[in-house]
Symmetry: C2
Subunit: 242 residues, 2 copies
Amino acid sequence: MLFFTQCFGAVLDLIHLRFQHYKAKRVFSAAGQLVCVVNPTHSLKYAPTRCAAAQTSAEQGVLPPCHHHEAVHDPQLVPCTCPLFSCPWEGHLEVVVSHLRQTHRINILQGAEIVFLATEMHLPAPTDWIIMHSCLGHQFLLVLRKQEKYEGHPQFFATMMLIGTPTQADNFTYRLELNRNQRRLKWEATPRSVLECVDSVISDGDCLVLNTSLAQLFSDNGSLAIGIAITTSKVHNAEAEM
Amino acid sequence: MLFFTQCFGAVLDLIHLRFQHYKAKRVFSAAGQLVCVVNPTHSLKYAPTRCAAAQTSAEQGVLPPCHHHEAVHDPQLVPCTCPLFSCPWEGHLEVVVSHLRQTHRINILQGAEIVFLATEMHLPAPTDWIIMHSCLGHQFLLVLRKQEKYEGHPQFFATMMLIGTPTQADNFTYRLELNRNQRRLKWEATPRSVLECVDSVISDGDCLVLNTSLAQLFSDNGSLAIGIAITTSKVHNAEAEM
């Protein structure tokens, strides 16, 4: 009898596992193959002005912004190359990837199409969800940020940035896709360079913007799945053909 | 000499016309064939509570909400079947189309894919841009609304509604697409029924939402082109196959 009970329990476990697997597959099959679970990074610090100088230097050329510090009088107004919400670190473009991996333990994922699964969407703003995405010979950074632009009304902002120069970034197109509850939202754009600073991209609203109610409609058990795809843009293809 | 001057003027006019045509074609070719210029309807009146009863009655069945008036004590709290921003009109579902055509002079367009070109996007909120779309044997209503959910921060809300019951609406999927400046934003969803009231759809944020900066990025000379497509949804197709 004990044998039968145990067998029955094992069968039930298998059915449960199979169901969970099916559920996960059903949620993500439309968006991609590789699913990466991304945990939030909450921070109470916020320095909204730190990007003022970074933008200028990114527009001027490809030099890492840390070379332009001398002209800035207020030590707080230094350019950022670490795109994280409140990280005061700065450095050359070449070492951004290792800084993000070592200091912030941000994962790098390979593949043209991946699914970014942001957990604990209910956490209060400001909160960041970040991964790096290695694709087409370059490293990209996906930043999902919960922020209160209007007090008491948190919104979600998602953007993709190239860990490279603005000129390199112009060669790519990224797509973010949400798909759930008979609703689908797609955003396609040219990635910005991390030299242009993620804070200004988000304050300009030039990214995928979700209000709380839409984020809830697209979420499943407090997690938001974002399908990501990166392609080379048409300009780049036309140049390659010539 | 006068002949040559006139000929030269005519050629210049032709070149200018040709250029304008090319420009219009370039903007809309990706989104669809038929372009409909939609002028705004500005209103200072606003009755946010008029939908409270409409929602309840729409959930209860397919009867036009005007039959449920008796239960409402405050004459202001009557259900709406005219989905326009501030129109106090109410009536049976069957006469909504003629009301919109006759009273509000709203055009009906035919075709599976059309382009909705909303002009004068700079006008202050609250403002509505509306057309009817006849497609797949039904009439749909596209509503673009500029509204200030947060004071001083106008946003644009776009949604498609079926001039029919919620059960009929479930058979369709609509797509709204913005495409300009190397950015593309697509929203796909099941249309709501006009019995459910456009005000509540917009206050819930369950539609395409654009902040002012994104609307500007997608606009050309103060006009916003929205590509619209309607298809029968999968559920409906599966039923048809059975």
